[in-house]
């Protein structure tokens, strides 16, 4: 079934994978398409590198892999932020293998000690007279570690690996407001990363995971196991027991179809979307009086109410980010193979908010996004089985038919009902465009 290069030079074959209301399984199973995604989709989109709060001082750096390419996020002496390709200009070693640190004045490659200023430019090479009369300094080697196009919005640092492509603001458009929604939940308007993200390895294609993020229908069915257990244990507690935050966060996963249908969805250009414009499982968390007071003081009651009233289920910044303004958590998808995806679960502290708010976010992360999460296990089990069963015949299609109408709107920004799979169809339109341009 999989011929080498079945897709690389056959644009029509890729176009044929995505029909208006369904997608062919090769999108999830083909190693060749996975490689093409890295080159055509991920390289041209803007990927999350890190948050400026991770690199507060000049020389501070963090390393990460974007679409299989190792990069370094580093704070410059002039307080700006740079993203460098983590590749020694000499023979291609990674200049640093540390997760984080401070480079001081320069990075130094462990192989031959080539050193680079923190903006990536070549500083010094050993036994330099060996290069006299050669073309070393005049070619790519002499230019040092390459800088990648980067942009910062409310402290979130993004990078685009491809030299050409849409600008940061063109690519995300109005979806950027969802980063503002999280940052505005700080009385000071600023966020800080808490520690490092939790990491999961999900044995499934990244798109299976991403579609689930926009899947409002599955919750009370897939999570019947975990929420049923939570309901049973909670209802057996003595009368008058105050409801723990953990139960408050777990039980809404059992919300039924009627609730989910009213959530509301919004479709944005370039594959971005918001699920839960009207309501979500995060809407009814109990208030923290001290926090509400701080927000009222900072923004005035009307604006504070507006900020705190916006709590979608997930805002998806396609292709790899899912944000929850409440409870200030963010997932980043890092695909590492056609059937293997790392999910990072980040927590942000809104500066000026009481500790109770951040503890709530960390609790949510443990309960729902941790490798030990009983909620996540419900989904991961299903994803694993999809990756296995999709290979079967005679049906090679993944259905996206729910609420599809022939001739439905497929451009621009518009709202849909909460169960409409239009949010998933929107993602595949963006996928198809990126993969065939």
């Amino acid at each position: 079934m999989s011929r080498a290069n079945a897709y690389r030079n056959d644009r029509a074959a890729i176009v044929a994978l995505v029909e208006p209301d369904r997608v062919h399984r090769d999108a999830y199973l083909s190693e060749e398409l996975f490689t093409l995604e890295q080159e055509r989709l991920f390289a041209k989109s803007w990927l999350f590198v890190g948050h400026q709060s991770q690199v507060p001082n000049a020389g501070d750096f963090n390393t990460v892999e974007l679409a299989g390419i190792p990069v370094i996020l580093v704070r410059q002496a002039d307080a700006t932020i740079c993203v460098l390709i983590n590749r020694c200009a000499h023979k291609g070693a990674m200049v640093t293998s540390d997760a984080r640190g401070n480079a001081g004045r320069a990075f130094r490659c462990p192989y031959h000690s080539w050193s680079y200023r923190i903006d990536g430019s070549l500083l010094a090479v050993p036994v330099a007279d060996g290069y006299t009369g050669t073309a070393m300094r005049e070619c790519e080697t002499g230019r040092g570690m390459a800088q990648v196009a980067s942009a910062v919005h409310r402290g979130f640092v993004f990078a685009r690996l491809a030299a050409d492509g849409p600008s940061f603001t063109d690519y995300f458009g109005a979806a950027l407001a969802n980063l503002d929604a999280m940052a505005d939940r700080s009385p000071e308007g600023e966020l800080e990363v808490v520690g490092t993200p939790l990491r999961n390895v999900v044995p499934a294609n990244w798109k299976i995971y991403l579609e689930n993020i926009n899947d409002s229908l599955h919750a009370n069915i897939t999570h019947e196991s975990s929420t049923g257990a939570a309901e049973a244990v909670w209802s057996a507690q003595p009368a008058g027991t105050p409801k723990p935050t953990s139960i408050e966060q777990l039980l809404p996963f059992g919300s039924g179809t009627e609730f989910m249908a009213k959530m509301g969805g919004r479709i944005l250009p370039n594959g971005h979307s918001i699920l839960g414009t009207a309501a979500s499982i995060h809407s009814a968390y109990s208030a923290i009086p001290e926090y509400v007071a701080a927000m009222n003081h900072a923004y005035g009651e009307a604006r504070a109410k507006e900020i705190l009233g916006w709590s979608p289920q997930n805002a998806v910044l396609y292709p790899s980010i899912a944000l929850k303004a409440a409870p200030q958590v963010m997932r980043v998808l890092r695909p590492i193979g056609v059937d293997r995806t790392i999910i990072e679960a980040w927590v942000f502290r809104p500066k000026g908010a009481p500790d109770a708010l951040v503890e709530r976010s960390l609790l949510y992360n443990r309960l729902v996004f941790s490798p030990m999460s009983i909620v996540a296990h419900d989904d991961t089990h299903v994803f694993e089985t999809i990756q296995r069963a999709l290979r079967s015949n005679p049906n090679p299609w993944v259905s996206l038919h729910r609420e599809y109408r022939s001739g439905e709107q497929d451009t621009g920004t518009f709202d849909v009902a909460g169960l409409n799979e239009a949010l998933m169809r929107n993602q595949f339109r963006a996928w198809s465009r990126a993969m065939t341009t």
Binding site: V194, T196, L198, W234, D355, L362, L363, R366, L367
Partner: protein, 65 residues
């Protein structure tokens, strides 16, 4: 169970019960005020103000089992 419990024997017993999927017996090993903490970083000092893989009270452990 006597007051003087050999910690190593307890850990082996816990592992034995989990290997055999005897989850209710495993849960019965824990006191009402127990906390089951799986830290994320070796250097972290706090379970709930820093990222942890798990920090469960007996209620959550009951839900898990």
């Amino acid at each position: 169970m006597s007051d003087a419990v050999d910690p190593a024997a307890l850990v082996y017993e816990e592992a034995r019960l989990l290997d055999r999927a005897r989850y209710r017996d495993w849960l019965a090993l824990y006191a009402a005020e127990a906390t089951y903490w799986v830290p994320l970083a070796r250097t972290q000092t706090d379970a709930i103000t820093e990222q942890s893989i798990a920090c469960e009270d007996l209620l959550l452990m009951q839900v898990r089992v």
